[in-house]
């Protein structure tokens, strides 16, 4: 077991090396071009193209009479292209919308492919066996020759992507702008379409027609969670594509009868789910933590503001207050309030006093005054600049006070010329 693992890792065996390098190479191109498809909201178009190459492969075989990879590839590209044009034509010239057009192209072309493929099988043409490998991929039975052909296709694809990167980027994000600055937008869109078809044709060698969509979409979708930059996204997606190819090939190597293609897809999906959960900014966990933190900060600031307001009322800022006294001013559930006070104490804004009371520290008074000041400045701003009635400004200020930055505060003070009182005739506490 350990020996075989080591053999695999260093790719000692020639056929293993072919399969692994093949799977990796085939994954790169589709992952990279998938980023563009994803950004242009055309991810499922790639799925339809993947299904549509099947009749092309069958027709090419019928014409040439052998499984010459180049001939099959040309056939595949032709029908893949044709289906894209058909989808476009249907959407532009009828009431049928994109989703139905994609579904139609996908299933009808695929049906034609199946019909021709079964026709070829039933007529018993010589050396036809293996054509159906296109359905589920043939990574495990890749020949060195296939790897050479399809691998170089992947490399050419990457080269074109690198050379025309800037133009493709512009046309993906803003086609109108591209036209306005005089780039040939139509040509660039066509180029992207062609690259997509070529990537699909190369990629189905690894995972087959049905799962090809995953090679385009999943690495790109995973990469999207980690970055906001297209260049980085493409690099990451390619990396995920390579990794899925490597690990997928490894798993199917460990156990006989295990198909490589589906394992590549499962590994890619695993990478996707890990990214979905744990990416630093856009990930679900990060989002959850951020929301939690917002809730916590809002609670703490509200408590400080309330205690500051109690201090204003009896002119004793640092008097001890009990939970129920605070609740008289602002209705916060006792347990939540208790938790907030404990946390504020650990941060040095309040201190606990005898008889279960709490008082503001000097630092707490300053912070409470800051929140109160922001609240009231915003109320002044809304009444004077936005011309909202004074009795309608409180709720808005209640939420904005937690968000305003020190820079904005300076700006507000300058704009409003340090007003002394807010619309409710309350003094604004300055430092």
């Amino acid at each position: 077991m350990n020996d075989s693992l080591f053999d695999f890792l260093v790719l000692r065996d020639l056929s293993t090396r072919t399969v692994v390098i093949g799977s990796m190479l085939l994954g790169i191109g589709s992952a990279a071009i998938g980023c563009f498809a994803l950004l242009r909201k055309r991810a499922l178009v790639g799925d339809a193209v993947a299904h549509s190459v099947l009749p092309g492969i069958a027709i090419a075989f019928l014409i040439v009479g052998s499984k010459d990879p180049l001939a099959l590839m040309v056939g595949a590209v032709v029908t893949g292209w044709f289906s894209m044009i058909a989808m476009d034509y249907i959407v532009r010239n009828s009431r049928i919308r994109e989703d139905a057009a994609i579904g139609l192209a996908l299933s009808v072309f695929f049906g034609l492919g199946i019909l021709l493929l079964t026709h070829i099988q039933h007529t018993g043409a010589a050396n036809q066996s293996g054509l159906d490998k296109f359905l589920f991929g043939q990574a495990a039975s890749l020949l060195a020759r296939d790897v050479a052909v399809f691998g170089s296709v992947s490399l050419i694809l990457l080269l074109v992507l690198i050379v025309t990167f800037k133009e493709l980027k512009v046309v993906s994000f803003d086609p109108d702008f591209t036209r306005a600055i005089g780039f040939p937008a139509r040509f660039l869109e066509l180029l992207l379409t062609t690259l997509l078809v070529v990537a699909v044709v190369a990629g189905i060698q690894a995972v087959g027609v049905v799962l090809m969509a995953a090679m385009l979409i999943t690495p790109a979708a995973a990469a999207r969670y980690w970055t906001e930059r297209l260049g980085v996204m493409i690099l990451l997606a390619s990396l995920f594509g390579i990794l899925s190819g490597y690990v997928g090939a490894f798993i199917s190597y460990l156990e006989p009868h295990m198909p490589t293609g589906p394992w590549i897809v499962v590994v890619a999906s695993f990478i996707f789910f890990v990214s979905l959960l744990s990416a630093p900014k856009r990930g679900v966990i990060a989002q959850l933590l951020r929301r939690r933190k917002n809730v916590r900060v809002t609670l703490e600031e509200n408590i400080l503001k309330t205690m500051h307001r109690m201090g204003e009322a009896d002119r004793e800022m640092q008097d001890p207050r009990s939970i129920s006294e605070i609740q008289n001013y602002r209705s916060i559930p006792a347990a939540v309030l208790q938790r907030g006070l404990l946390r504020l104490a650990s941060e040095g804004y309040v201190t606990s006093q005898p008889n279960k009371k709490w008082s503001l520290t000097t630092q707490g008074v300053v912070e409470g005054a800051r929140i109160t000041r922001l609240h009231r400045l915003w109320e002044v701003y809304l009444t004077e600049y936005v011309r909202i009635a004074p009795d309608h400004v409180h709720d808005d200020a209640e939420s904005i006070e937690h968000v305003l930055t020190p820079e904005l505060e300076v700006e507000l003070q300058r704009l409003l010329q340090r007003p002394a009182i807010d619309p409710h005739q309350q003094t604004i506490p300055y430092r």
């Binding site: 996908l106 049905v210 999207r224």
Partner: protein, 305 residues
Amino acid sequence: MDAAFWIILTGTLAGASCALVGSFLVLRKMSMLGDAISHAVLPGIVIAFLMTGSRSSIPMLLGAALFGLLTAFIVETLHRKGKLQQDASIGVTFTWLFAIGVILISRYTGMVDLDQDCVLYGEIAYVTLDTVAVWGVQVPSAILTLGGLFIVNLLFVGVSFKELKITAFDPSLALSLGISATLWHYVLMGMVSMTTVATFWSVGAILVVAMLIAPGATAWLLTDRLRSMLLYSLLLSLASAIGGYYLAVALDGSIAGAMAVVSGILFALALFFSPTHGILVRRIRLRRVVEREAKIKGGDAALQS
């Protein structure tokens, strides 16, 4: 009765059942969700098959339908909570589940009477091999399953016609009438899943998609009335089944594949030649308008001179 009759009847019942629920997918712009579900029920089918050991049992239908609902739910959750765009969310979900299904099939290849080819294009040609006697007539058991499914779908659409119609055309009106769009979304997805699973054996995963989308989309090019659209979609399924059978016989190829091709040809015909929404008719209408405009302008010019 001969095999041709039973095969065409099987194809028609499968196609008609798909077309009934599929028409609503087309109207709701959710065709690709139907596509996703038809792929993603595969692991459900394999797991249910491993547990019950039979193909047409009720637990299997329900188990796989649950997987379909799960798919709809995952797609929605990735989109909402994961902030992933809708098309990518569909693509990631169904490929992942389908891959797991294929892996399960390979893993238990001896125990599951199911191979990869069957997953893709079904076994409609063999329906006559498995028959049961009904009133002295040998009827393929697939006919009973699909006939039952067709009746259930017909009843479903009949009973909830109003709700399906309103949620499809005017979700905000539905909301103001107290009809929950979310509830009906999942009800429809549940029906799509069940239909997919039940028709899966005869036409395979991808060709379920053809029958879900093509008849509905074609019918929508022929009429503006929902009732007529549903009726046309049923007739189109029948035509696809008949045409598909004879095309397959002529080419000696897959019947299900040929059915999809014929449904595509019917769509293309409607796209160009539909008397109401065809491209040709619209061209002619446009030209008439242009000519009339020109005539009016010419008249104006004559008056002025």
